[in-house]
Symmetry: C2
Subunit: 319 residues, 2 copies
């Protein structure tokens, strides 16, 4: 019998619970938003009930699964499965989520940061297959990452390794990160920086073809809107996409010098900006790395099809 | 019988060959400068003869040693023991140094980058003992580093992992690195940046108490001179030392976010600047990391006593 894996991705706007096969294909999935605004105990109830439901619905028993993998956006203390911080959901500060869910199941429950989970999913089922080492970078509202070294996730002492988004690449930058520092990679080049970057271009006198209404709430500027701008040949959208690509290229260069990996995989919503974005990332990287690349390095887009969050969470049970 | 290790450190100004005990203590050492200006084959002759001499001199036989470890300043392709680049010695481009030395011995010869060797020495004999993971940063003319993950050197695909000195931390900086990029950590904060930084302070109108003669060759500004300046309470020397400490603190912060290590060890000549320097490094790190440190991280000075290069090289035979 093929192994069936169970993954849970707990995000700020939706919670997904899925069964996934050994090749990373989703067999069945439940989406719920019932966890939003709930306190810790009630969220756990939602999660546990839906895991039990999807198992039952597929004529399985808990013991048919190697475990339950959970991905959560935030700082996770991996050795003890505790959520240290999260910006997407209220509460959960220093909350032992793994233990709380574990108490409802006989099989092992694993809790990790969502980017680590996605990195492992990419490694087991996607672009990372066959490699020993790999860096995964997910670029969406924020920037997350996971490090695969010697076929395993490298998590560091707490479990927070791979926070490349907080690497400072422009200390004098006026761009401030959620962490409070200036010029983090995340402050310069991800979804949450877009409203600021857009307004700045307008203030510099640049005209956008997006024709936003006068009362448009600038905080609604996001990757999708800029993608639309790109399709309309909007110079403001294009400039921001190229600027963001430059910083990601620079970030990847720093990662390359630090870890000399054979493979860097990019995932996350902003990769939907497509070729122009990826080309800028790569050209920046190769301009900086030049003659310091002694073996070919692959920089590629995630090959996970479907919900990378929940597939990654399921992959945690294969570790 | 205690194990006796053999290490060779091939640098630009001297070549050291030593026997080292299992605790990292030097038992006997030969220094030679006979390799300078020599072509590849002649350098190998100098190295091989001196290894054979130190073995004979100590009434040992080759087979008493587990191997010969060699550290070399430059990019080394570790899997095949080839020197890719070196800035300290002429020639040696794509030179198979390990094989060339190996042909003279029955026991294994290991060749690695000098900073990797020092990192391993620090891990086996110094501040790293008892840890699983560690980052070692050596700050002298340039900046080198080594990464210990899961008790072993992590080298990346080519062997060039740990080039934190080439991380770009100030892309618009006027400071240029040997690699040609602007604002690498190495361009901002190591020995080779000091002449430029010193001249810049003077051009800004700052007065140095060092009283350098009018025809002083600015390229001779180095760490020792600034140390002397510090002792004289020279404001220019002090500012440069603090600026350098800031950048190292920032670099360490980036390393912390990337790898979340429990221990960062600093070595190299500039650590002789002492407390004022180390305090600035640490205060910068803690200001940036603030509430993102969830487990204690140790930042400390190398505990290797004596010649870290040759002790590190010897440690390579313990891997």
């Amino acid at each position: 019998m093929n192994k069936i894996l169970c993954g849970v991705d707990i995000g700020g706007t939706k919670c997904s619970i899925a069964l996934v096969n050994e090749k990373g294909k989703i067999l069945d999935k439940i989406h719920t938003c019932a966890h939003i605004g709930k306190k810790e105990q009630e969220l756990i109830k939602v999660v546990v009930e839906n895991i039990k439901r999807i198992i039952r619905k597929n004529d399985l028993q808990e013991s048919d699964l190697p475990g339950i993998g959970m991905g959560f956006a935030g700082h996770i203390r991996f050795p003890d499965g505790v959520i240290i911080t999260t910006s997407n959901l209220k509460g959960f500060k220093n909350y032992p989520l793994r233990e709380a869910v574990q108490s409802h199941f006989e099989i092992p429950v694993i809790l990790d940061n969502d980017a680590n989970a996605q990195a492992l999913g990419e490694y087991k089922f996607g672009a990372g297959q066959g490699y020993n080492d790999m860096i995964f970078l997910t670029i969406s509202t924020g920037i997350g990452a996971g490090i695969i070294i010697n076929k395993k996730l490298y998590r560091g002492m707490t479990g927070t390794a791979g926070e490349f988004g907080h690497m400072i690449v422009e200390p004098d930058s006026e761009l401030t990160c959620t962490c409070g520092n200036h010029g983090c990679l995340m402050a310069c080049a991800c979804g949450m920086a877009l409203p600021y970057l857009f307004e700045k271009k307008l203030k510099e006198g640049k005209k956008s073809k997006l024709n936003l209404p006068p009362n448009f709430n600038m905080s609604e500027i996001n990757g999708q809107l800029l993608k639309k701008g790109l399709e309309m040949d909007d110079p403001v959208s294009k400039e921001i996409i190229l600027d963001s690509g430059y910083y990601i290229g620079l970030g990847i260069y720093n990662i390359f010098q630090a870890l000399n990996p054979p493979l860097i995989v990019l995932g996350g919503g902003l990769t939907n900006w497509g070729d122009i974005y990826l080309k800028k990332i790569k050209s920046t990287f190769y301009e900086l790395a030049r003659d310091m690349i002694f073996d070919p390095i692959e920089i590629t887009i995630s090959k996970i099809i479907g919900d990378a969050g929940v597939i990654g969470a399921a992959a945690l049970t294969l570790e």
